[in-house]
Amino acid sequence: MNRTYDFSVNATQFIADDGSLIKPLPSTVDETILLQAYQEMVLIRIFDQKAIALQRTGKLGTYPSSLGQESIGIAIGLAMQACDVFVPYYRDQATQYLRGVSLTEMLQYWGGDERGSHYQNCTQDMPICVPIATQFCHAAGIATAFKIRGEKRVSVVTGGDGSTSKGDFLESLNLSGVWQLPMVMVINNNQWAISTRREVQSHSETLAQKAISAGIPGVQVDGNDFVSLYDAMLTALKRARAGKGPTLIEAISYRLSDHTTADDATRYRSHDELKKGWDREPIKRLRDYLLSLNLWDPDKENQLQEKVKEQVDNAVTAYLAIQPEPATAMFDHLFKKLPAPMQAQYDEVKRLHLS
């Protein structure tokens, strides 16, 4: 039996690196959404700068910057519906913010307070996942629950390029196809997994083509172009909601920051490469496009910067005013009810720290 199978991966880009339009905008995108996306991206960048400053002055723990990836998170967050479930990895501040996680909650989490994951406004979303790729299995389980119950909801999961090397990702991808789960997987391909290059993760030409092995659609988009990912997300979400199964989206981006505040990327990547990364960055790109349409101007920019800085400062003030939990809090949510054999340990902590 001789047979040839043909597969292909579509790569999409609407707005070029210099802010010019490559092809007409899709019907899913209008001026309102572009302006909203831009303003949210600016907010996240200012928040990011503030978080790093807090870490440098000892007021926050280790923090993973999302510098350069703002458009990925904002596109996902704006495309999702409130009823969906977001299953984030640790560099998803932008989407989390749009889902309803407050800036104060994010600071609380990275400041070492578990209450930062007790989201007040998006109680259904999963907490940040720190181990690599394990969250893809959770998203598949969540999508399975939706399918079993016949709910028109979608689980959306994100991971970095490094996560595609792990079994958890591949096993979930495989299952999503077998069970045709209402699930969207977004790979934030920012080219670096700490010091490991994208080329070391996989010899495959794209990460999107991993979808082919699972028998599901895989698309590659320019993740620094808000329009590309937003449109791809809407298409994938619509498919999933209609019972037509999962989609894998590879969003090409670039990590302009260190991996975290504990990392020093100058040890493993060149200044030239980083400089090229800045040429492609998402915020300037969208601003240039908006400026070209006369939808934006320096006055609006100044007003936005002022407003956003105030918003971030308020979040920081609220964060710094939060009192720590009592020492016994470590027992309070381990199990729903403290098992009787653990009472003595609880009493000991209470005696040592609360008397």
């Binding site: 479930v85 299953v87 578990e114 209450r115 994951s117 007790h118 989201y119 109680t123 999963m126 907490p127 996942c129 181990p131 394990t134 893809f136 299995c137 959770h138 998203a139 598949a140 389980g141 969540i142 999508a143 399975t144 629950a145 939706f146 079993i148 689980s155 079994g167 958890d168 096993e171 979930s172 495989n174 299952l175 077998v178 470590m330 309070d332 949510h333 381990l334 199990f335 729903k336 098992p339 009787a340 054999p341 653990m342």
Partner: protein, 345 residues
């Protein structure tokens, strides 16, 4: 190996009032409990390798798919990481998934999901999202199985905060403890001693009554010596208690049942009462749950003890293949020898 023993007094006393209990093996009792839980709560679903069409390689899930359908009894791809991971996702949505890992020797791929996520989802979200799931896994040796099918590594999981590790030792306790595990709002690792899946039968009434978790069961009261064990080793422990009784040594036998969290109160009370303790487990000697129990008793009851605490356990070796597994598993003779040593101290 003769592992069949008479039903003990504690259990027969429990069932005397039952109207029509039917004789069940442990694997049948597990099947009964699963069916009961699925009947009473539509959120209870099952998943794993071969659990559907095949009814599980030990038949613990037999007939459940016919009864409850494809959406509730799901055959998964052969991937333990995935099975445990999607179980967490399903549990986060208010389902009560019961995952079967075909043999505990294959559970290690699932460890990251169990340790890093199942055990801490409630804590890290400060109670916002809970993880009401059960992972069932047949464990232990003595059934002439191939490599990777006979280990007893309950101590690996007992060390992890946030999950319960439960081991039944009879059909009655398998039924009652499994119902508790399924109804519990937190993750439970339910380890089934497969050597006694079919070696012991006793009347079990399918009345939906659960047995408490986090509690040891005193199977036999005595005044001279406390024998502490769990799972399949309860069989040899009870036989040893009978033998010792004939020699005039009154043994108290405690089935630990919940390996974690450990009911240290029951263990302490018994140690104080008899002054002598032997811990019997099939798992390797060093770093086992026996070491934890011995350390706890030494810490809290030292001056009440009349002799050093002894452990009769597997050896710090790889569990031998089927031809030699009998050399590894603790025998009645080893327990009786240890008892004589403790009594003569």
């Amino acid at each position: 190996m003769n592992t069949k023993v008479n039903i003990r007094q504690a259990d027969t006393a429990d069932i005397k009032e039952a109207p029509t209990p039917v004789n069940q093996t442990m694997v049948e009792a597990i099947n009964l409990a699963l069916a009961h839980a699925m009947e009473e709560d539509e959120n209870v679903v099952m998943l794993g390798e071969d659990v559907g069409a095949n009814g599980g390689v030990f038949r613990a899930t037999v007939d459940l798919r016919q009864e409850f359908g494809l959406k509730r009894v799901m055959d998964t791809p052969l991937a333990e990481t995935l099975i445990s991971g999607i179980t967490i996702g399903m549990a986060s949505q208010g389902l009560k998934p019961i995952a079967e890992i075909q043999f505990m020797g294959f559970i290690y791929a699932a460890m990251e999901q169990i340790v890093s996520h199942a055990s801490r989802l409630r804590n890290r979200t400060r109670g916002r999202i809970s993880c009401p799931m059960v992972i069932r896994a047949p464990f232990g040796g003595g059934i002439h199985a191939p490599e990777h099918h006979s280990e007893s590594t309950e101590a690996l999981f007992a060390h992890i905060p946030g999950i319960r590790v439960v081991v039944p030792s009879s059909p009655l306790r398998a039924y009652g403890l499994l119902l508790s595990a399924i109804r519990d709002p937190d993750p439970v690792l339910f380890l089934e001693p497969k050597r006694i899946y079919r070696a012991v039968a006793q009347p079990v009434l399918d009345d939906g009554k659960a047995l408490p978790l986090d509690t040891c069961f005193t199977l036999r009261e005595g005044s001279d010596l406390t024998l502490i064990s769990w799972g399949a080793m309860i069989q040899e422990t009870l036989q040893a208690a009978n033998t010792l009784s004939e020699k005039g040594v009154s043994c108290e036998v405690i089935d630990v049942a919940s390996i974690s969290p450990l009911d240290t109160n029951t263990l302490e009370c018994s140690a104080v009462k008899t002054g002598r303790c032997i811990i019997i487990h099939e798992a390797a000697h060093s770093g086992g749950v026996g070491a934890e129990i011995a350390a706890h008793l030494a810490e809290h009851c030292l001056l009440d003890l009349k002799a050093p605490i002894k452990r009769v356990t597997g050896f710090d070796t790889i569990m031998p293949y089927l031809r030699n597994e009998g050399y590894y598993l603790p025998s009645v003779e080893r327990i009786v020898d240890a008892a004589n040593e403790v009594m003569d101290f």
